[in-house]
Every structure is written in structure tokens, then in C-alpha cells.
Symmetry: D3
Subunit: 168 residues, 6 copies
């Protein structure tokens, strides 16, 4: 079974992330989705807990009919020392052969690591966690168009926009 | 959906753990299986990495025909400060209403926590991680009868018995 | 006895803080004053040690005739993981039923925590730690009018203005 | 004002500790009582939280008529690196000139530190935290004679004996 | 033997650092060169690992004919708590009597520490780690004139400019 | 230049360690001597600071006429997570091709790491840090015959035997 790695912070999980997962699953047997910076929460750049992000991803993939057999979601805390980062992740996951990432630093680290194929992801233009959080902060409801409706529902249930404003 | 929590260290995942999972799934819709002390590895009491333990659990449940829809496996590092422990776990997991555990300290902490129902698990007599690791150390192959054959296969593939001897 | 919590960084302890304490003590039997970010010191935003801040608070309350019976001062280090923050504080303090705070993030965290009444404090206009440190940095002696004369005396004794300049 | 330091873990606060405090206050103007290993709790050797230990000490001193003016109680977490220990404590406390301690390692560290007078305390024969916790574990109610009745009352209120058994 | 301390981050080791070392060795018997923030790497302000910085310093001093007898290079991780910083460093090094540093915060900390003579270093105008990293980022090859040719060679061998761009 | 790694805790540096270094230097161009568990000190199993251990090694090699050109001494703190250990060490050291060690766990970790040749060291019978510390504790002066006379002199200068007794 060919398993690949997809690393993100998912603050929140948005349509760009979903698009990467769908495209990757055309090629890979299974995707190990790592929730990075898992212990950060209630901060302006990291408003949601790892458990909330877990729910966003899982509920969206369920809604999209992507089977649990095709993915696993593993939250991993950050390590400040970047040279340790790839080994830190390796200790938490089943074997993978390729990594999908949009982060330059993650790409650089895995290229030095040398063990996995590094696959640059195509971002959906105009969709990013930063932009979504900015819209939430400004009270611009357009953020809901950048996430799956399942995610929008969860964030409303958790009063997530208010939380982002309080912690910013 | 009724989700329950099952916390263990799974060093290694054995038939006692499997029995708890099977019984719990007769009652619960889904089990969140937390791999505790996730960052400990290559120690006499914690020989396997979180990623290896993830594989042991997943491969066994697959072999037993337990669907991925019925469980999620989440590795969580230890926190030395026990008063923070239950909140530490809460931040990593989707909502649960009950906890299955065989550990007295975990039981005590969740009783003080007060949020979940605490369910004492019935251990299978004579099956424990400690006993399995002792047999491995002594070169007694009987340890293979205390784990699922899938787990025995993985441990042999990883040369796990040799590792336990080297780190003890 | 009705005990309430007042959390601040007190860099330095100023007239706004003193005013909160005096008003709170009109209502509460006793105030547990938590010195937050206790392990930060010799930084531009956190110039004073927890021990120095302890002295500033205690000496000012003594000078103002507020009895030791009416308050306790407890320094607590920060935890980066905000979801753990309120439980982290709880482990250090005697039981309280209400929290006084001017920090939006602290307010947000205690509202989720749900155990205590959250009381928004009225800040004294123009008095803040940030403003005081800025004046010190610029050599504007007007900072002395924003703190109690006891605090001004201690900061001069410690050569605190020079320290702030060296670490900024 | 002559302030001295008294460092202990106070698991629990017992008659030996109280005796040290009373004798010290015959000589010193004020005692800074440091609760060491403040972040340890729910362990067999450290069953009580810093906040609970704070209450034990304060309630006992109140009951004994020792004024709040004569002492301050400051919880401080442990640092594993002993060479940093005395400086770690210094950052949390107001100035002291002498230290009372019964711990050989604390004595050794302060002698190297060189800044304070080190005063060896006379322990009350047969009274120690270890002995009290052992009696609690064995169900021997005699532990109540080794602590102040205020402390015995608090421990019963918290169901402390049961907790010690669960975490041991 | 008179040993002095020289603390820097050496990101990278440049001609200003070399000049300090040469001048110090006119006066001192031996220099203990501490690589600060040793665990930071692959960040825009800290691109190189401690091991790489060790090599830059050692290879340059070798090339300049400065004997190994005249210096030792000791990497030390940062501690966020500045009051502990000087004691933290002391535990890692042989005895010194003087410190050379260009950092205001390090100077302030050692002045409070009181144990060593503090020697302000004369920086070479226009040579700083910040400026070198900025030139690397902009693709301005002039950075090579601010470091020893040995260092320029190592950075090229490691593809260091590309790394700085990827992590910035 | 062929550089090899020698990892030990050196509590204290003894004749067995010296023998390994001498034999290794018959074969290697240069030895990188890593002082492990560098941040542990003033404990029964780790009485000496990294700086003291640095001095023991350096003074002994000087006394034995082993040039500074043939070795470098690098203190490295422990990481509890063993899977990160070899990468943690790699970030601190110049490139090496072989590792000398007497520790089973270190051997196991480097065998998994796969990057270096692992060389088992021949211990000198009856010489070990544990045995030396035991003799010190018992007041048996024979410990002086298990270390170089330079080391014995340093330990006496530091009153090291008394320290070991106080912290044990």
C-alpha cells in the first residue's frame, strides 16, 4: 500500500486543503494527514485546538464520501528545533514514501532529510488560512465560501469567529 | 454518534487491549484510541515508537475486520504534571462521553475531571505489557501467544526483541 | 470567605492595578493576586523578575494600609498552550469564585473554563505597563506619576530604567 | 526587616514543618515559605497540588495565630538542573539572608551559592512526609497525629487518602 | 592561565567576529568561544546548526594559524529565562575571568552577575550577521566579502544561501 | 581528515575513558568527545557539571601530551526521546564517520541511525564511573587509582567527594 504524508496546520481546514487531499488520493492509496503545531490553540494564528481541527477534517472527508480507509489524521506538536522536525514526525506515523506540502520550510527540511519524495502542492488561488482568519476578524462573512460548509457549521457551533476576535 | 475514549501505552498492543476494544465496540459507536506516552521509545518499558504502535493497532483491527469507521488512533505525549493530564488529552480528541482504562491513576484523574463516565476495563488474566516485555527479555517465545499474530509479525520484522534487549 | 482572583503581569505594578485591587476589596473578602509570566524577566516587555514584582505589590499594599489578611501574591509561569492555562493556574491557587482581568485572552479562556465568574476591570485611562515602559525608554520621568511612589523608589533602587534600556 | 527562606515540598504540611516555622519566627522577622516541586501532584510522593499545599500551610498558621504579616507562601516548580536551582528560586522571592532546610541537596546547593546563611533544621523525630504517606497507604489513621488537625480536616475533605491509594 | 569568554550566535561567523578573537588573543591566554542559541537552526535569523557554526569557526581559525591551544568552542542552547542565563553558561565552561560581547542584553546580564569583567567589543563597521543574511536573501554576492573565504566556501558547499531563502 | 565520535557521561573522566581515547587516536585523525547528559549535575549519578567534566578531560589530555589538534570536547544535553537522540547529537558536531561507545542503548540507536560505523569499546576491567562514585561514597580512597592523577587533583580541589555525599 502506497502511503503519503500531508502536513498542514489547518487553521482552519479549507477548500485548498480539501483539493490537495482529493488530488493526492487519485494517485496514493492512502494519505496520512498530520495536524502540525498541534498544541497551539487560542492564538490569533492558531485559534483551533488539535481536536477541533481533527473534527473539521474528518467531518469534511465524511461529507465528501472519502472513506476512513483512505486516510488517517495524526496531530503532532511542533518542535522549535527544525533539524529535529522530520525525525520528530517520523516517530509518530506509519511508513510513507512521499510528502505533500505547501510550506517552504517543510519542503527544505524534507529535501535535506532525503528519505521521502517531496511533492509541491498547487494551492487554490486566494484560499489560505491567513486570509480566512483575516476575514473572520473583519467580520467579512465571505470566509464561509473558502471552507467546506461542514467546517463553516462547526466553526459557528464553537462560536469560532468570536474566539478569534477575543484572542487577536 | 456515541464516541468513547480508550487510553493505553500499548507497549506492545496485546490480546487484552484487543479484547477491550471488541467489547467496547459492542456498546459504543466508535472508539478513540489514545496512544499514551507517545514520545517515549527505545526504553525498557517503552520500546516502540508511537508510529510503530499505531501500525500494530491498525493492522490488528484490519485483520480482525473492524472497520476504520469504528475507531480513530491518536498518539499523545505524556505531561509530567498530572493535574493537566485530562485537559491535555481533551485538546487532542473529538468529543467523547466515556473513558475505558485499566490504569488507576488515569481512573483517578478522570474521576476528578468529572466530565466523562469512567469505565473500568476487565483485563485478560496473565496478559500485560510488562509480562510480554519480560518474556521477550528472557528469550521466552511464549510472548507471541499474548499478542495478535499480526503484532508478532511486525515485532519480528522490526527486530523488536533484540531492541528490547539492547535498551534494557 | 469569598476569594477572588486577579491576574496580571505587573511590568511594573502601577496605579491602574492598585485601583483594581482597592475596588475589588470593597466587594471581596480576599484577593489572590497572580503574577503571570513569572519566569520572564530582563526582556523589553518583561523587565522585572517575579520576586521584584512581588516586592512592588507587597510594598505598595503595605504603604496603602491594605492588610496581608486581605490578599496573597502567587507568581505563576506562563504555559504556551492556552487551553491548559486555566487548569495550570488552578493547581497553584486556593479556591476562588471570580476572576478580575483586563486581558481579552484571559477573559476568553475563563469564559470557556466556565468555573468562575469573569469580571471585566475598568482600566485607569492612560495608565498601562506598555506606556510606562515606553516613557522609561524615552527618558520621560513622567512614568513616576503612573506608579505608586513606593514602586518608583524600588525601580530607582534597582536601577530599573537603565535595565529596561539595556534589554530593549 | 530580616527575612529568611524555608523550602519544603510539604507533602503534606506536618507538625515538623510547623515546629520549624515557629522556632524560626522566634528569631526572624518574617519567613518566606517556598513550596518546592510545585507542579508535581497526583503522584505517590507528591499527592497534593501546590494550591492544596498553600491552603494547608495558610490554614494551619491562621489556626495557630501566626499573622499573615510574618510569612509569605510562594510555590516554585522544580528545575531538573540543580546548578540552576538557587538562582531559579532567587528570581521568585523577595530578598532573604538565611535559609532553613532539612534537605541535604538543598543545603549543598546553598553552600555553593554562598549568598545566604544556611541553617540546618532540627526535625521532629518520627515526623516526615514519607512516613505520613506510608501510613495513609496502609490505612493507619495514626497519620492524623503527625499533622495539625486543620491539615487532617482538609485532607479528609479532599478525600486525600483515597487519592494517595489510587496514584500509588 | 587567563581564560576569557566570547559569546555570539555566529549566524554566520564573520570578519567582525574574527577581528574580536584576534584582538582578544593579544591580551588573553585563551578564549572560550560560546556558540549561543545552539539549538536554533533552519530559521531566517538562525540558518546554521551549531555543528556547522563549529566548523566555520574552527576552519577559519585553522586557516589563520590560530592554534587549538588558544581557544575552545562550546555550543550552548538558549534559555528563555534571562535571569538564569549566566549561571546556565557557567555550568558548561571552564573558569573564565572576563567576557567579550557585543550584545547589550548579555552585557546587562553579566554586569548583574558581577563575577566577570565585562569587555565591550568594537564591531567592524558594516559587518553583522543580519546584514550578511539580508544580502544572501537578496542574491547580493557581496556577503562573501564580509566573511572569511573559508566560511564562504563552507556555506557554498552546504548550499547555505538556498537554505536561507527557503526558510525565510 | 577522519573524525570519530566518542560519547560518554564522564562522571568522572576515568582511566577507562583515557584508554579508549588513546587507542582511538592510534587509528583516527581526530576525536570528537561528546559530554552526554551535559545539563545534569549535583545528582548522585551525575555529580559534576559539564564545565567540570570539560576541565577533567582537557587537563588529563594535556598532561598526557595529547594535542588539542587531535580532539574537540562538546557538551550536549540529554533528550528524553531516544528516537531523536542521534539527530540531536548530529546538529552539534562536525562530520564524523564512526562512533566509539560502551553504552548498549547508544549502540542500538546508532545502528538504527545507520550513518556511522559503530565501534564497541573495550572497557578496562573494574573501572567504571559507577564503581568510582561508590568508592567515593564509602570513603574508600582507592577511587584515586581509577582516575588520572590530574582528575583526582581537580576533584579534591572542588571538594567533590563531599559533594557526592551531600547529594546522594
Amino acid at each position: 500500500m502506497k502511503q503519503a504524508l500531508f502536513v498542514g496546520r489547518f487553521q482552519p481546514f479549507h477548500l485548498g486543503h480539501l483539493s490537495v487531499i482529493k488530488k493526492a488520493l487519485e494517485v496514493e492509496d492512502r494519505l496520512i494527514i498530520v495536524i502540525g503545531s498541534a498544541e497551539e490553540n487560542h492564538e490569533s494564528a492558531n485559534p483551533f485546538t488539535a481536536g477541533e481541527r481533527f473534527q473539521m477534517i474528518e467531518a469534511t472527508l465524511n461529507a465528501e464520501g472519502i472513506s476512513h480507509d483512505r486516510h488517517a489524521i495524526i496531530p503532532i506538536r511542533n518542535v522549535e528545533n527544525f533539524m529535529l522536525w522530520t525525525t520528530h514526525v517520523d516517530q509518530y506515523i506509519p511508513p510513507v514514501y512521499k510528502i505533500y506540502t505547501g510550506s517552504d520550510i517543510v519542503k527544505a527540511l524534507y529535501k535535506e532529510h532525503g528519505k521521502y519524495e517531496v511533492k509541491d502542492i498547487e494551492l487554490v488561488s486566494g484560499v489560505s488560512g491567513t486570509r480566512i482568519r483575516e476575514k473572520m476578524l473583519k467580520g467579512d462573512d465571505e470566509w464561509k465560501q473558502l471552507v467546506h460548509k461542514t467546517v463553516a457549521g462547526l466553526i459557528e457551533k464553537w462560536d469560532g469567529v468570536k474566539r478569534i476576535r477575543m484572542v487577536s
